[in-house]
């Protein structure tokens, strides 16, 4: 009765092997590495960059363990921190000739020392949380109300222009909170205005209320459009943050959306919070100016003369200089959106800009007066300007919808639109949570966490082995398997291990031993009642199972509640806690039974089992069994 069919042993062996395989990468430790990633949205890291890195290293006489392209970055691993630093200098020199205008970020990083064949199996070590590796964490709250107000403001201007274009007379347009009020004299006008808005502004809904002899139209943003505005605002802010963080040269920044209106930024290894915050909070500005096309300027452009008075020299993204007038026509504030698209007639890729009402008016005047001339869109960041694009004005542009086309690929159009959008934050943000952990504290925390788990386990193992003899050893081995599986699953999920997570692991082991104690006590009890050893083992496992299930389900309920409502450190705790309960059911019941069956299952005439002394109340010493 205490035998497993072969397939059950097969499952056990397979689970153990897979578990061991995926736990393995955690034990190799980390090696120094240099990571190259893109500093600009327009520059992609690909195999060409990998080759350049390899060549640079060869030229400098540094031999890496390997150079590999992973996702959006190239990583080169080295033996020692010395070669790592040497390699960083070499790569920096080769890829970033101008330190003020880096195209690539060359950062020091740590990568796992695990061999390539493990990586090929997607067996990667767990990711260490900030509290274990040191770094900076920010949580930013995006002011969605401000984003909506901004949107409503731009709609108010658009409606004004649209009504004027159609010659619909109104008695004033004003923004009230996030809706737009339009006053009209009579019902016919109200209907006309209403139809116009329904026609041209699909995202608005209008209600009409009579006010004395007049009518008031109230246009508000539809709920689904509101959601879209919020999603876009969040996404745009994340893109902007990404661009800015790139400058910090952080190897693995985490920028994540949390909830509907929050962004979490984690910068492992960064210690200078002040600088990080400065960069996160900086606003990039976008300016539209005219290109200076005088003869002096033309000679300055080719480098043959000085830049004329009242103009400045900027570089275009392809490195070509452009002489731009100092006078600013429009700023990024007037730009409400920038999207890539296609020209309806030529099928060329385009970038479509949307301006607000004020911007449209100015833009209309400027374009009327300057047909055939060039204008430049300049993006300022860190006080340094770069010409994003400098198109020729072909005709007067009214209505606030601007199309930039010509000499662009689809990818370029995408990038330009992104740059234009990312120039500014869609909505203001506020830091609502922040913490910094020094690298020494991180290392201390790892050590403390591991010590807690190891010593706790040792104490339990020693006790179990003494008290339950051979069954104690079975229980201890199952507990070790529990740790193995827990680590393997966490590694497979690529979960982030934090100190609360390690605490949860310790607690999970402390609780997991309960199942083994239940089983062992039950077997002793059966023996005490005079049941034969084989039957006692069978009954012990069978009867303890329901109890184990019940008690684990209640613990799991608590874990799930923590997972559902907890945040930050509590979540890290809850994930490990829940997985620990599941693995403990497997190891304490299924696996330990396998061990017992393997040991005792074939012995038909089993006289006694090594489960420590079983004391019987009838005659104290005579029947006591010790092995």
């Amino acid at each position: 009765m205490n035998r497993y069919p072969v397939w059950k042993y097969a499952i056990l062996v397979i689970v153990l092997l897979v578990g061991a395989l995926y736990t393995l990468p955690n034990f190799f430790g980390e090696a120094p590495a240099v990571q190259v990633s893109s500093a600009k949205a327009t520059i992609k890291v690909d195999t060409a960059v990998q080759q350049r890195v390899e060549e640079a290293l060869k030229a400098a006489g540094v031999t890496p363990d390997f150079v590999a392209l992973e996702g959006n970055s190239v990583r080169a691993r080295f033996d020692t921190p010395d070669t790592q630093l040497k390699a960083k200098d070499a790569i920096q020199k080769a890829l970033v000739p101008d330190a003020n205008d880096p195209s690539y970020i060359v950062a020091l990083n740590l990568v796992s020392r695990s061999p390539l064949w493990l990586k090929a199996l997607h067996a990667n070590p767990m990711y260490l949380g900030l509290d274990l590796r040191g770094g900076v964490h920010f949580m930013l709250q995006v002011d969605m109300q401000a984003a909506l107000t901004k949107k409503a403001e731009s709609y108010a201007g658009d409606i004004r222009t649209a009504l004027r274009d159609k010659n619909i007379r109104h008695g004033g347009i004003s923004r009230d909170g996030q809706s737009i009020d339009i006053k009209v004299r009579d019902e016919a006008t109200a209907t006309a205005a209403r139809n116009l808005i329904a026609d041209q502004f699909a995202d608005l809904q209008v209600t009409t209320t009579p006010e004395g002899t007049e009518f008031k139209l109230r246009a508000s943003i539809k709920p689904e459009a509101t959601r879209r505005v919020q999603e876009q605002a969040l996404k745009q802010n994340m893109v902007t943050l990404h661009n800015r963080i790139n400058e910090l040269g952080v190897a693995e920044p985490v920028i994540q959306q949390q909830g509907l209106d929050r962004i979490v930024v984690q910068l492992p290894g960064v210690q200078d919070t002040a600088k990080a915050k400065d960069i996160l909070g900086r606003t990039a500005t976008l300016e539209v100016r005219m290109v200076d096309e005088g003869t002096e300027a033309r000679s300055a452009e080719t480098g043959r003369g000085p830049v004329p008075f009242g103009s400045e020299r900027y570089l275009e993204r392809n490195g070509q200089p452009v002489i731009v007038k100092k006078q600013v026509i429009l700023t990024g504030e007037n730009l409400t959106d920038a999207q890539p698209g296609f020209d309806g007639q030529t099928q060329e890729p385009t970038v479509n800009l949307t301006l607000d009402a004020k911007g449209s008016r100015i833009f209309k005047d400027i374009t009327r007066e300057n047909v055939g001339k060039r204008m430049a869109i300049v993006l300022f960041e860190k006080g340094k300007g770069e010409v994003v694009t400098a198109p020729v004005i072909r005709s007067e542009i009214g209505g606030g919808r601007v199309q930039i086309s010509g000499r662009m690929t689809t990818a370029e159009a995408n990038d330009t639109a992104l740059l234009l959008r990312a120039g500014s934050l869609a909505a203001p943000m506020e830091i609502i949570e922040e913490y910094t952990i020094g690298p020494s504290l991180g290392a201390d925390n790892i050590e403390r966490g591991i010590h807690s788990v190891v010593w706790g386990m040792v104490a339990i193992a020693v006790f179990m082995c003494i008290y339950y003899a051979l069954f104690g050893i079975f229980s201890t081995v199952s507990l070790a398997v529990n740790v193995l599986l827990l680590l393997a699953i966490l590694s497979m999920l690529q979960a982030t291990l934090t100190l609360p997570g390690i605490a949860a692991m310790a607690l999970a082991l402390g609780v997991a031993i309960d199942s083994n104690v239940l089983i062992n006590e039950r077997i002793r009890e059966e023996l005490r009642e005079g049941v034969s050893p084989q039957a006692a083992i069978h009954a012990g496992y069978e009867r303890a199972w329901a109890t184990i299930l019940d008690s684990n389900v209640t613990t799991l309920i608590a874990g799930l509640a923590l997972l559902a409502f907890g945040s930050g450190p509590v979540r890290g705790f809850a994930v490990v806690h829940c997985i620990g309960i599941l693995t403990s059911m497997f190891s304490a019941v299924f696996f330990s039974r396998g061990l017992v069956n393997l040991w005792y299952g074939r012995k038909k005439k089993l006289k006694s089992v090594a489960i420590g002394q079983v004391w019987k109340p009838e005659s104290d010493s005579a029947v006591a069994k010790t092995n």
Binding site: S452, Y467, A558, A561
Partner: protein, 316 residues
Amino acid sequence: MEFFRIRKDIPFMKHALVFNAISFITFALAVFFLLTRGLHLSVEFTGGTVMEVAYSQPAELAKVRDTVAALGYPDVQVQNFGTSRDVMIRLPVQKGVTSAQQSEQVLGALKAADPAVTLRRTEFVGPQVGEELVHGGLMALAMVVVGIVIYLAFRFEWKFGVAAIIANLHDVVIILGFFAFFQWEFSLSVLAGVLAVLGYSVNESVVIFDRIREAFRKYRKMTTHEVIDHAITSTMSRTIITHASTEAMVLSMFFFGGPSLHYFALALTIGILFGIYSSVFVAAAIAMWLGVKREDLVKPAKKEGDPNDPHAGAAV
């Protein structure tokens, strides 16, 4: 080895009233301290800035306090954290000053007084986050309570569910009472510990209920009283050994885990100790007073020994 050599069932339920009186008094004290002293909530809940700095020599707290107070922070807490060289400084939220400015200003002043000081950790939490944490914590608590009552009602009987949850919620209040009395810092990880204890000690009650159910089936002549006594006595050995093992793990965290896990381990220790007491004595007694009967657990329609019976014989 066999620690527990009990010949006869111990008549626990005779003293049910005494056990409940003890636990009621502890509970009342805990509530009293919670109300009068309140919890010393960590910065995660209240909002504000926490800085942890390390000196090369044992730090003089009074001097540090003076340095920080000189910057114009009226309500500053300065205390040792872990070792005598590590100092924790807690600043309240201040309008108009960002957290970055706050921590830099303080570090600057400390560096001016002693250049050897290094920043180990800073933490800033805005006030709105704190409110959400309290809300999230209460929601989690509610979900645990409802979830466990439903599960136990489904597996056993509603009386057991109610008894288990009353007994174990009072553990939670007692842990909080301890934190209020000693003014230990109540942080997010302590909250996680408290909720984990709730699940953990309910599972203690479950083991005993399981045994009660089995005894009802097996010993048809025993009264409810005797059945409960028998259940508690026969699970005694397992109860003590299991909790000792768990406690060994928790103590390991207490001694090796450093200051970050200190209060977490403390909350678990109190929870485990009171958890044994309340889930063994109090939960069973409440179930008894709620009037559990043999008929509640042993369904007459079901055949004894049916192997497919989901309620069949689980016990320790």
